[in-house]
């Protein structure tokens, strides 16, 4: 479905991604793990066309993304739930959700998708008229996820959805991710919460200093000695 091949990405003169390649098959949960500064967010931003790779290609269902403008990527069916939630703080919860459904198809099903999001997160319905900036961290993450779902994407990318949340909330966020996946949505997940993520994913890639150093099923990596030592602290 999504195929990233040999991308090199720079911030100005500074190279951050080195020859990164990976693939996401339809219906799967694919995970990108790595330490701080490894380049995980950079990878997702490049897929979303916020950044342009200096070389390499990105294709989504046969369409080239690496030279497309960011709004085209959204139209093609890729939603990006960014690191740090990035809600529109002065807009209400409901307006944030509306902002997720600008593309014409998502727009025509806006009311329907919104009630689905409210079913998923009842607390958001209670707070729908509240400015998003005044919500708790966990609630904000729910809005960010809901805003991604509002786009009715084919592929949804999550950048560290568990960051800064209490363990109980983290568990429920992962539960939601599993659920949307079981309803047919393909997931690309970036996480530092390695143990949890590897156990729910179909395929995982390890990103270190801007390069993919390992790949395999979640199971394989969970039992890999290097992963155990470097990421699981065993």
């Amino acid at each position: 479905m999504l195929r990233v091949e040999h991308i090199q990405v720079f911030y100005g003169d500074l190279q951050v991604l080195w020859d990164v390649s990976f693939e996401v098959d339809e219906g799967r949960i694919v995970v990108l793990v790595g330490a701080n500064g490894a380049g995980k967010s950079t990878t997702l931003k490049t897929v979303s066309a916020l950044l342009t790779p200096a070389s390499g290609t990105i294709t989504f269902e046969g369409t080239r993304l690496d030279r497309a403008p960011s709004h085209k990527v959204v139209e093609l069916g890729i939603a990006h739930v960014p690191e740090g939630r990035r809600l529109f703080p002065e807009m209400t919860v409901e307006e944030n959700l509306i902002m997720g459904s600008l593309a014409s198809e998502a727009k025509s099903k806006r009311a329907e998708t919104m009630s689905r999001v409210y079913n998923l997160f009842p607390v958001l319905h209670e707070r729908r008229r509240q400015p998003a900036g005044t919500l708790s961290g966990g609630e904000q993450q729910m809005v960010a996820i809901g805003r991604g779902i509002m786009a009715r994407p084919k592929l949804i990318m999550f950048d560290e959805p568990s960051l800064g949340l209490a363990p109980l909330v983290v568990a429920s966020i992962f539960e939601i991710i599993r659920m949307v996946n079981s309803e047919g949505l393909t997931v690309l997940l970036v996480e530092q919460n390695v143990k949890h993520t590897l156990s729910i994913c179909d395929r995982a890639y390890v990103l270190e200093n801007g390069s993919i150093t390992m790949e395999g099923s979640g199971r394989e990596l969970l039992h890999n000695e290097h992963v155990k030592a470097a990421y699981l602290g065993i």
Binding site: S48, L50, H71, R86, E90, I98, M99, A103, R147, A151
Partner: protein
Amino acid sequence: MEVFFQTLVAGVLKGGLYALIGLGMALIMGVMGIINLAHGQLMMVAMYITFVLFHYLGVDPYRALPISMVSLFLLGIFIQKFLLNPLMKVESILPENQVLMTVGIGIVLTETARFIFSSNFRSVMTSYSTAVFFVGGISFSVALCFAFLCAILLTAGMFWFLLKTDLGRCIRAVAQDNEAARLMGVNAERIKVLTMGIGAMLVAAAGTMLMPVYYLFPDIGGPFTRKAFVITILGGLGSTVGAIFGGLTLGLVEAFGATYIGMDYEDMLGLIIFILVLLFLPGGFKRLTKV
């Protein structure tokens, strides 16, 4: 007491127009993150359009209103698309250079006007330019009342657009978080172009409605750019609601200053308020209202 109320009325009527000027400036500041130092010069262009339509074609300023608004909308779009957006593509150019560019645009507009119209004072003398009506001994300028009404309608329409339509929400989204807006599929460059168009259109409306009671010369843009700047600082940078309060405040300060201190101090008082706000209420009225 009569003088007081007369001054109050004058200040509020003027403040309505100032709010319109400030609203456009605040939108531009919010979305583009820059101060548009050609704002008053755009208004000057709209005033000359109004003058030409009246003087050569006999078009009443209020009929000229849609024409000047559409013209300035297009001029704003042109400026953003071909003069400001290209600057953002070059990474080595600081964002401040866009502000410098607006200064240049302002100068070009002013000198072009001087070239075409010379530096002479112009005005649009309509049948109602000096018409007044009285309520309880206080006089109301017909033209200014009408302008105030139009300003309210335009402002209300603008807020409806910003709050209730997808396009309006996109403008607010880009102002609040450009990158996140792009992740939602917003074409941020197009939104910037649209916003500059709208800002120019609003200030054009203010300029055209001022024409029946004001005078015009090429350098009139500068003072109005300063006023727009003061209004947005008063209101809190980029705050649209704040700009309305800022506009009314400036209108009132100028009116009371002119009545109780002296006509010559009108402009200075606005700037004194401006400095006081920067010193004692940085962030402007937005700090108080949080909107």
